[in-house]
Subunit: 303 residues, 2 copies
């Protein structure tokens, strides 16, 4: 047994029994199971500054989550955890009123001593590749100037992307859309896709990349030469495509570096519940993610 | 930050700076760094029953680690964590007086509410393949009869093998030497080898398997069809061979099952320090290992 906050075994069993295919059914069933735990744990940080504009598009918006303690916040120097949500490149938002999506990530960040940032970005089909990497670049640039006022250290930014958000983070790390990955300290990609193949019509990739994405759209191989530390995760109940991507990533990484990458296998969770496990089921992902953030934002820890 | 016990960043940095090649130098440097933390945390369980004979060979011995609370121990029903040490098939022991090797594993097990068992086994070259799997089988048989007297549930045995011990556990799970893996509830393999190839003279594999090990000596492919849940780990600073094994395992598992296996990437640690991370650096391995044990020994959690 561990003293950390964990989901009860019967809830994990119910999660594991869900059909892993991504869609409204999985989303509804997953959040119905988990929202009560978020509400109990508290999924909002003490202070949230909403809808700050990091660019001119209506989707160029981010929320900043802090401890709300003016003295502490003024002290500064905190790591800045920037969350990039998923939604198949065509939907999703940083915040859905009345739900823990994704204020819970900001609350988790604040609990661990970070400043939390939840950002959104332009969507396909209006905005196609590499708009995601461009928007992450734009948001990071804005944070460099403004995050100190919220207690964050502009030199300790860590990106965390989930699903399509993980693809945008991977795209940023690979330097697509003019991105400079050395402007952040580290990056985590949860249930992402790292090699872009010719997509079937109707798939999210077809909408974002168009029918014939060139090799320059794939985060791999440049992702393998990342100048910053990376963490990846795959959920026990992620669908086949994401499992295959994770296995191929391990293989390509080992081929390139002789080592296995930092890949977290998120026990008991699915494509939707991975990010929802933060705070309410810490051993699933939160423990490893916090250690990753701490390691790469603490000066002592630089090895 | 996390509230769990962790090693200070400067100690992790020192660990990461060590040459990862396995040998007396790595062992000495690693234990010199970590033993003070074990001594501070306490690396002995309240009660240790030593050198119980599970067979006729002088190496057929195990130690049982318990809370030493007669009422609690008599209650019974606890998971039983059985640790199989490493040592290149030719050396190593369950207990080295004056060192935390490997009473620390027993103490960790007791802290988490389990009964801890540390076992040793016959060594090569006197005893070659499949003597390791035979001895694990023998020890499990002995525990089935005797562990209830120590508060353990004979139907909740979980094996944890490290290095050569992981190979013996893999061999047991693959049914070698007459083993029946369904006699245990789950098995964890830390920094193991899963495909046995023609070994170079002078290597540990050459001593244990002989110069021409047949395909029947390889845990894979049968390991992939395990009837019990498995956890694997690889250390960030494991040497090349172990990294390659881990990557190949992921690839073979995904090919067979369509999913990635439960592989823990042990952040900051090396081949020797992975097992030493228990208790003193819980997020590295202990958190995931305890969750694995709990999941597969709790009736509610069976999904």
């Amino acid at each position: 047994m561990t003293d950390q906050q964990q989901l009860p075994p019967d809830v994990i069993a119910q999660l594991k029994a869900l059909d892993p295919e991504i869609g409204p059914q999985l989303a509804q069933a997953t959040w119905a199971l988990l929202t009560p735990f978020h509400e109990k744990a508290g999924c909002t940080a003490p202070k949230i500054d909403r809808d700050l504009a990091y660019g001119n598009d209506p989707r160029h918006r981010l929320d900043i989550h802090t401890a709300g303690d003016q003295d502490q916040d003024r002290q500064g120097g905190r790591p800045v955890l920037v969350f990039v949500h998923g939604g198949g490149f065509v939907r999703g938002d940083k915040h859905t009123p009345g739900s823990p999506q994704y204020d819970l990530v900001g609350a988790w960040a604040v609990r661990h001593g970070y400043v939390g940032v939840t950002m959104t970005y332009r969507l396909a089909p209006q905005h196609m590749w590499p708009s995601g990497a461009e928007d992450v670049t734009r948001a990071v640039g804005w944070l460099k100037t403004h995050i100190a006022a919220y207690g964050g250290d502009p030199d300790k930014i860590v990106l965390v992307g989930n699903s399509a958000g993980a693809v945008h983070v991977a795209s940023f790390v690979a330097g697509q859309g003019g991105a400079d990955p050395t402007t952040v300290k580290a990056a985590a990609m949860l249930s992402g896709i790292y090699v872009i193949r010719t997509p079937e019509p109707g798939t999210p990739e077809h909408v974002y990349y168009g029918p014939n994405p060139g090799p320059q759209t794939s985060p791999i191989p440049r992702l393998l030469d990342s100048p910053i530390p990376l963490l990846f995760s795959v959920a026990e109940r992620d669908p086949f495509n994401f499992q295959r991507e994770a296995a191929r990533l391990v293989s390509a990484w080992q081929h390139q570096h002789g080592t296995v990458p930092d890949l977290v296998w998120v026990e008991g969770h699915n494509h939707m519940s991975t990010i929802a496990s933060l705070t309410i089921d810490e051993p699933a992902l939160g423990t490893a993610l916090a250690r990753f953030v701490d390691r790469h934002t603490t000066t002592e820890g630089a090895a």
